[in-house]
Amino acid sequence: MTSMQTKILIADNDRAHLEIMTGFLKRKGYSVVVARNVPEAKRVLQKAKVNLALLDVRLTEEGDPYDLSGLTLASLAPNVPKIVVTKYPTYLTVRMALRSVGGAPPVAIDFVSKPQKLAAIQVAIEGAVANALQVAQFKEFFEHLQNGNREAWKTLWDKEAWRLITLVQRHGFSRTVAQNVCFEVFRDLALAPRIPRTSALKITLVNETVRKIKILAKKKPGKQGNRTRTALRKTAASPVRLGLAEDIVAPVINHNVSKARLLKHMKNAIGDLAVREQKAIVMHLFEANSPDEIARKLNLRRETVNRYLRDGSAHLEAKLAELK
């Protein structure tokens, strides 16, 4: 893939930066598509075949420190390599962008702060293009492996995936590239019509979903925060629809934490959702058919559960305050 063939999406609500970047990248021979907000960027990521995306972190509200709409957007397009660009870099934004969770590849492949020179962005873009080339070479390598001995490949992945990653690394590729490629191939493999999904893939997808929900849950309340939450909620997949409700609290339950913490975690994880969805999650979580059953399983009074089911997150918050 050369710069002539590389189509780059630049998503930024800062017009001046958008113009500078567009001009710079066009001069370097890249094809550029621009988006000024989340819906536009989402449309481009879904419809136009872009090879790389430069995403601003605060796409909705420039002055809102809790606006992470760019990162949420990035997590919605796993197939496109992304570089996160921001005028306000923080420890948390870098960690959210580059940290790999539960075996899934990181949300972004690089992170650039806006005050840095254009040359830094160019270096990041060239790195991403080179990375895409490596990915293409690896896919070829894996196809060869897969065609050679399909059964052996499946066993290898299911039981000893790390060996596979090591195998890739022995060909001189970095760990990040190896993981990214293995993940992509695994996903392709799992989505192939004749091969059933494996439990490992399910767990990976679950972890990824939980991570997205946690990003959502980190939003703080407030006038601007609420607006961001609403905007993000629209783009987030519903856990009820995905049937992943129990997985939201599984990490907490597995750690044998207290009831207070479980409730807090639930509030963080599902507090953003509509009351109807929260009810469905609570019912589903405890595999209960009635409030009585939930009350028994959570060791709460029946009235408490009824109130929660009626008033949703408002009551959960009150309960939390009580527990504190």
Partner: protein, 125 residues
């Protein structure tokens, strides 16, 4: 499944944090402390290792992170801990190949952090 946790850093400083860390990883495996020199000189087997680096006690953190995460087979889980993590240090560590970069002041969250990290790594490897 138990892991070998190796803490690399200065033996003298931050005793409280070391104690907290030791308690946090106790249910998951044993913790061994090495200085930077000892860590570089040591031969590593293919056991399941989790490397924890105290940023303040290691001079060439990036080199060491890169060695553990990119050159050893299988690559180890490398967690770098810093007193005050800045965004540019975070970026450098992730680029070097660190699995995660966390503040030392994680309180009781350290135990949950490592449990979740290793649960994730089982999915991956």
């Amino acid at each position: 499944m138990t892991y070998n946790f190796i803490l690399i850093g200065n033996n003298k400083g931050d005793v409280d944090w070391r104690d907290r860390l030791r308690k946090a990883v106790a249910p998951l495996g044993k913790l061994q402390t090495l200085t930077e020199k000892e860590a570089q000189a040591r031969e590593y087997s293919s056991d399941r290792h989790v490397i924890i680096m105290d940023e303040s006690g290691v001079k060439r953190v990036e080199d060491l992170v890169s060695r553990f995460s990119n050159q050893l087979n299988p690559p180890y889980i490398v967690v770098v801990c810093a007193a005050r993590p800045s965004w540019d240090d975070t970026l450098r560590m992730f680029k070097a190949g660190a699995t995660d970069y966390i503040p030392k002041d994680s309180g009781k969250g350290l135990a949950i952090f490592f449990k979740e990290l290793l649960a994730g790594s089982r999915v991956q490897f």
